[in-house]
Amino acid sequence: MRDVAIIGVGMTRFGELWNQSLRDIFAEAALKAMENAHVEKLDALYVGAMSPGLYVYQEHIASVMADYIGQRGIPATRVESACASGGLSVKSAYLEVASGMSDIVLAGGVEKMWDADDGSFILATASDQEFEAFHGVTFPGLYAMMANRYMYQYGLTREELAQVPIKNHKHSVGNKNAQYAFEIDFKTIMNSAMVADPLRLMDCSPITDGAAAVILCPLDRAKEFTDKPIKIKGIGASTGPIALHDHKDVTKLEAVKLAADRAYKMAGAKPQDISFCEVHDCFSIAEIIVAEELGFFDYGKAGKAIAEGQATYGGKVVLNSSGGLKAKGHPVGATGVAQVIEAVEQLRGEAGKRQVPNIKLGMTQNMGGSGGSSVVHILEAV
């Protein structure tokens, strides 16, 4: 297997993009990434998307996108793993380059969510349709049950839980691509609508249109395209139970630990080596459980640690410098790729006010459903 580097990145602004269609936003992100990498011709294309068929009634989107980014004729593959589709798109493109099959490969992700009629129904298709969604459980409902059990088991308070979105919104300020780049406080959260007890609207990542793309090539060719190649040092992917009730302990997300252990092993790294990670904070409780599964904090301790400032600048590890899914936005299929872009910008030293000092490794963790899948990447500037 060959070493692989990221040589270019591009994304749209995340938000309500009423003037652009599904293909428009993907093309904008992809063409920006190709321009950033100084490439005009791709050898292959991967597109992560959760459910364009339900959101905008378009399937077969790998061919749509190849056509609309000027690459008609190349092999193109759609990758789906619910909200982890983007992360899995990057992994799939990595394998194509590492194997020697192709040299210049674009890994993208996209979701056009605002056009949908019944977004709660569409997102719930990432849960167990026959045994969860059938009973009226929504996606926030599943994470609410995790929060309910976690608070019961570990004594996490409502105020501590609120510190996750408060921190992530604070990080997002100045991120020009973020959907909601403003600060919020505890009152904002408690005054927002109850979605699924104890989770309120301001505990939930938003509905978002957006696309993101990165260009991969063999590491030994990377300097042809950029002065700042970023090596993909470790990748881990995993699956877990599709239904939340099949997790022995619903305060754990074992798929995240499996993926992280694989990525750490491949990269020769430990949690202590990581000073920056983009994590999948689809709901406030998710960041807390994920931070434990990644090995940053002990089980039952992450909520308090985050509330004490251990997951922001000056703490143990900066989680979600971009603002995370909560403030940056969560176009499900694009999220995993956008996380990788934030890590690339941090490692290139191009994150501006969000820059994490003395950063050596960049890490991302993307998750599907209520822990049915997860993809972890560890990146390094070379």
Partner: protein, 129 residues
């Protein structure tokens, strides 16, 4: 998915609470060919007696369109006395009485209907004991 024939395959678990006990002791409410615990394929059919304990719960305030008229409604993960895990609604109760560790019993209830002239769905739900 508006055909009604497909509901016949749901009858054993939704109407009769049938589950599977694998030879390694794992009890699955959803039909599986292989145990996720030990990979054994040996199992026997059992009928759940219909009682269990609340593992975790929430109250849904914002629902998918099909459930919008029922909000707010509690849903919970239940561990049955046989050790099977499943998710279902808790009905006929004061929402504030739903607690982790609470005992429940399954009841046979209407879930919804597929359009104005479509089939009516029935299923298990839980009541507090």
């Amino acid at each position: 998915m508006a055909n009604s024939q497909r509901y016949t395959r749901e009858i054993p678990h939704r109407y009769r609470l049938e589950a599977q006990k694998f030879s390694d002791g794992y009890v699955s409410f959803s039909t599986r060919y292989i145990s996720p615990e030990s990979n054994t394929k040996k199992s026997e059919k059992i009928t759940l007696k219909g009682t269990g304990t609340i593992v975790a719960y929430t109250v849904i305030h914002i629902a998918a369109d099909a459930f919008a008229k029922q909000t707010p409604f509690p849903v919970a993960i239940i561990e049955t006395d046989e050790g099977a895990r499943l998710t279902t609604q808790i009905v006929d109760c004061k929402i504030s009485d739903v607690k982790i560790g609470g005992k429940v019993e399954f009841v046979f209830r209407k879930m919804g209907e597929e359009g104005e002239s479509g089939i009516i769905n029935y299923c298990y739900k839980a009541v507090l004991l």
